[in-house]
């Protein structure tokens, strides 16, 4: 599996590992029972086998076990989700991400630069490593989704909705991003890159790209749900 | 209360409880409304069955009755061949595409639907008078 390049990805991967173990365990037991039946209980004579209809203990035990497993999985998942969705009160950067047919616009808050891409020239989202970056995401037209496989994370970009999440990238590097909600003809070409650099390099980049005026106007009709 | 009434009532109660929980957890109106109207719809169906109390004495709901006990009783009247269902379906198809391709289609479709509905009611009346 790729990734684990953010703090949140660590949480996601841990949840995945537990769920995978549970899945293999349960499926493994069930598979063994099925194969046991089809091998051991093949018809060998015309005698009628014992015609039992139910077994209260077995049925109850299986139900209770299943409920306990599911409750445990929920508790794990709930805690991880709370951590993944936590927003830092003092992020190192705030970026308004707008999906549109068929590329992305990144507007850095506080008089920062605006980066707009095209399918031929995908945009690069430059972020400082090790610091929380606050993303506000929306769409200018139809539904899109901001997906970075290496972060094991995506969030939809929906017109009329401003959604919020934090990214804390832990390893410097270039990470491929793609659109993960079908949005029309060039859905497959709506890529971007996240470039995680040292905080010093990030400040350098900001200085080089800082525009004179405020960032471009946000998508119309934007509101919180 | 027979099994069917029990299922409908139980489902209505479930929808009500889950709908209430969902509302207080989320304050999201679309889902809450759909769950609560679901409860109302199921309760309506349960109430209808309860009011038709004679249904509770269906032979089929008695454990020890045999089919041979009901020999020569008419089970019911079942409609035979009819051209009106395909005509009605065709009228719907043509009429709805009138929303796309022009009102003249909707008129044509409405004519077909009307003819079919009239035909169905006529056949039904003729059957009941036999």
């Amino acid at each position: 599996m790729p990734g684990g390049a953010t703090l949140q990805a660590g949480d996601i991967h841990h949840v995945w590992d537990v769920f995978l173990l549970a899945a293999i365990g349960v499926a493994g037991i069930v598979y063994i029972l099925i194969f046991w039946c089809i091998v051991r209980y093949r018809r060998r004579s015309e005698a009628l086998p014992p015609q039992f209809h139910h077994h209260a203990v077995v049925e109850t035990a299986c139900t209770v076990t299943a409920l306990l497993i599911v409750a445990g999985l929920f508790a794990l998942s709930y805690g991880a989700e709370a951590r993944i969705e936590r927003l830092d009160p003092r992020p190192a950067a705030t970026v308004r991400v707008t999906g549109f047919d068929w590329s992305w616009r990144f507007e850095y808050a506080g008089g920062g630069p605006t980066v707009t891409g095209t399918p031929e020239h995908p945009p690069v989202l430059v972020v400082p490593v090790g610091r929380p970056v606050h993303i506000q995401i929306t769409s200018a037209d139809v539904d899109h989704a901001f997906f970075v496989p290496a972060f094991l994370f995506k969030r939809d970009a929906i017109p009329g909705l401003l959604s919020h999440f934090d990214l804390v990238v832990t390893r410097p590097g270039m990470y491929r991003g793609e659109c993960a909600e079908f949005c029309g003809l060039d859905h497959a070409a709506m890529n971007f890159t996240v470039s995680a650099v040292t905080p010093q390099a990030y400040q350098q980049w900001l200085r080089e790209r800082r525009t004179a005026g405020p960032p471009g106007p946000a998508a119309s009709g934007v509101e919180n749900p | 209360m027979n099994t069917t009434q029990g299922i409908l009532l139980g489902s209505a109660a479930f929808a009500l409880v889950v709908g209430a929980i969902y509302w207080f957890v989320s304050y999201e109106s679309a889902g809450a409304l759909m769950l609560l109207t679901m409860a109302v719809g199921l309760a309506l169906a349960a109430a209808y069955l309860a009011l038709l109390r004679r249904r509770a004495s269906l032979a089929a709901d008695q454990r020890d009755v045999r089919p041979s006990d009901a020999r020569d009783e008419a089970v019911g009247v079942f409609a035979s061949h009819s051209v009106w269902p395909p005509v009605l379906a065709l009228g719907c198809a043509v009429g709805l595409t009138g929303l796309i391709y022009g009102w003249w289609l909707a008129v044509l479709g409405a004519a077909g639907v009307t003819a079919a509905l009239v035909g169905l009611v006529r056949d039904d009346r003729a059957a009941r008078s036999r």
Binding site: M1, I34, K154, G160, A180, P225 | S11, E28, V75, A127
Partner: protein
């Protein structure tokens, strides 16, 4: 034996006109099932084109617009025109027989259901013949893509066609429930009806709860598109998120409409070929009801990545629904346990169902966790999950049901040798196609893309999937061949070739017009088994 009266209406009873005007549940069931076979072939060819397009990275073989139409019509076709209606069509044929009834409660309504389904499906597909092409917004038709983003008539035809199919399903649901409530034979109390009938009654209940919101949503789409509405246009005060709520409130229960009938079919087949009664009949009925109720409360697990819903509520409900579904495996394994099992083709497909559906089930539990879903949503992991439950599950059960009930419907047996060949081709082909998609999804390949970059492993997995789809397609061809050859050679089946348990095996193959000359006494959920035992007893 109680009698049924038919209205003697003069008119043709054979030939094309006879089929056009029939109201008999058996003929309508046959019409349904053969029509779904036709749509299956169409949607299946689209799937093969999709797989061919994705075989080599950066090398699509169709244009972007065509590709979008292909995956839209493949999904719409398989969901609305194959898997769901086959269950309803088989129920049309089998349910009245299994409860000892002469026909469905409302025969003309039944016929109307079929013709609305056929014409609705044709209207959806007719988009291919329009200038701007068929609908291309996916089977989910999210707004605003399906409103302002889809100006052509193909999208309108899709909406109208699906509306017709929805009406058809609602009518069949009404008919199935009314038939079961009103026309059970004496002694056939609800707790003795076959499990397949229970599953169809509960499926019908779900249809009644889920399809009206779909119809309303489709009407709103039409109003937005053609009559100046703004329900889903955020720039005018509408909401794209509300579209998703409305659609998925229908969309999630719909998947249970596509699975519960098939659970029922499997639960008819496994007991007969294990020579055991169903293990845990009561539990099976209760878990089916639990699934139906919970299925209405999980819809927004399709919206975890929007950031606009209360994820934990839906996560809890979705994890909870795994429990009654899992208990069914206790029922099925318990039925086989200490049984005397034989493996005609129907049983091969039933076991295949058990093995495949389980994989879909456990991946479903995984994506019920929002953190995992943040990773997997809208990737090929989801494609793998859905095809394992609907393909590896429902489709395998569909084949099992065909091999099991074909003798009753036609009076002839399907050939076992072709059946075995079909099973192995389909089993290997299916798993080769969809197992690699789990990996592709976790590696980041998103859904609904006409092509993809040459990243490590992506070409290899896509190549395996495409080759697998060819094997799967070959298996389907063998199935069609078997149907043809068996109907040509006509090996007679007799009334009860399998040693069945339920009432359909107490009459001829095929049954007469009003189904039964006489009915055996009904004291348990296995009246024909009881009858056979009492005849053989000294």
């Amino acid at each position: 034996m109680s009698t049924a009266a038919a209205l003697p209406v003069p008119g043709p009873r054979v030939g094309l006109l006879g089929w056009l005007t029939t109201t008999n549940h058996k003929h309508i069931g046959i019409l349904y099932m053969t029509t779904t076979l036709g749509f299956f072939a169409l949607a299946g060819i689209m799937a093969l084109l999709i797989r061919a397009d994705l075989t080599v990275p950066n090398h699509p073989i169709v244009g972007r617009q065509t590709y979008a139409e292909l995956f839209t019509l493949h999904g719409t076709g398989m969901i609305f025109l194959v898997i769901a209606p086959f269950g309803l069509g088989l129920a049309n044929y089998i349910l009245p027989l299994q409860i000892g009834a002469p026909d469905m409660a409302y025969p003309r309504l039944n016929a109307l259901s079929y013709w609305l389904f056929l014409l609705g499906g044709l209207v959806v597909m007719s988009g291919l013949l329009t200038r701007d092409g068929a609908a291309a917004a996916g089977w989910v038709a999210y707004a605003p893509l399906s409103t302002t983003g889809s100006p052509g008539a193909g999208m309108d035809l899709w909406i109208v066609g699906v509306l017709m199919v929805s009406a058809s399903s609602i009518m069949t649901a009404i008919n199935l429930i009314a038939t079961t409530v009103l026309y059970r034979a004496p002694g056939m109390i609800m707790w003795r009806i076959p499990v397949f009938c229970w599953d169809m009654v509960v499926t019908s209940l779900i249809i009644l709860m889920a399809f009206p919101p779909l119809a309303a949503t489709l009407a709103m789409l039409l109003i937005d598109r053609r009559l100046g509405g703004h329900a889903f246009d955020p720039s005018q005060g509408g909401s794209a998120v509300v579209y998703q709520h409305l659609f998925w409130f229908f969309g999630h229960p719909e998947v249970y409409v596509m699975v519960l009938p098939y659970f029922g079919m499997i639960t008819e087949i496994i007991p007969v070929f294990s020579r055991k009664p169903v293990f845990g009949y009561t539990a099976f009925v209760l878990t089916t009801l639990a699934i139906a109720g919970l299925s209405m409360a999980v819809w927004a697990h399709h919206m975890f990545t929007t950031g606009a819903v209360v994820n934990p509520f839906f996560s809890a409900m979705s994890l909870l629904i795994a429990v009654p579904t899992g208990i069914k495996y206790v029922n099925w394994i318990g039925t086989m346990w200490r049984g005397a099992i034989v493996f005609p083709t129907a049983m091969l497909f039933a076991v295949g169902f058990l093995l495949n559906f389980l994989i879909g089930g456990v991946t479903g539990v995984m994506i019920a966790s929002p953190p995992i879903d943040f990773w997997a949503e809208d990737t090929y992991f989801i494609v793998a999950h859905m095809h394992y439950v609907l393909g590896g599950g429902s489709l395998f059960a569909l084949f099992a049901a065909v091999y099991y009930w074909f003798p009753k419907i036609t009076g002839v047996m399907l050939r076992e040798r072709w059946g075995r060949l079909q099973f192995w081709l389909v089993f290997v082909g299916f798993n080769a196609t969809f197992w690699p998609m789990h990996l592709l999804g976790l590696w980041g390949m998103q859904r609904r893309v006409v092509t993809y970059p040459d990243l490590p492993g992506w070409h290899a997995m896509n190549l395996i999937a495409s080759l697998g789809s060819a094997v799967l397609g070959l298996g389907v061809l063998v199935f069609l061949w078997n149907l043809w050859v068996s109907l040509r050679d006509r090996v007679p089946a007799g009334p009860d070739p399998w040693g069945g348990y339920t009432l359909e095996w107490a009459t001829t193959s095929p049954p007469p017009e009003f189904n039964f000359e006489t009915l055996p006494p009904i004291h348990s959920e296995r009246p024909v088994f009881d009858l056979r035992r009492s005849r053989n007893a000294p």
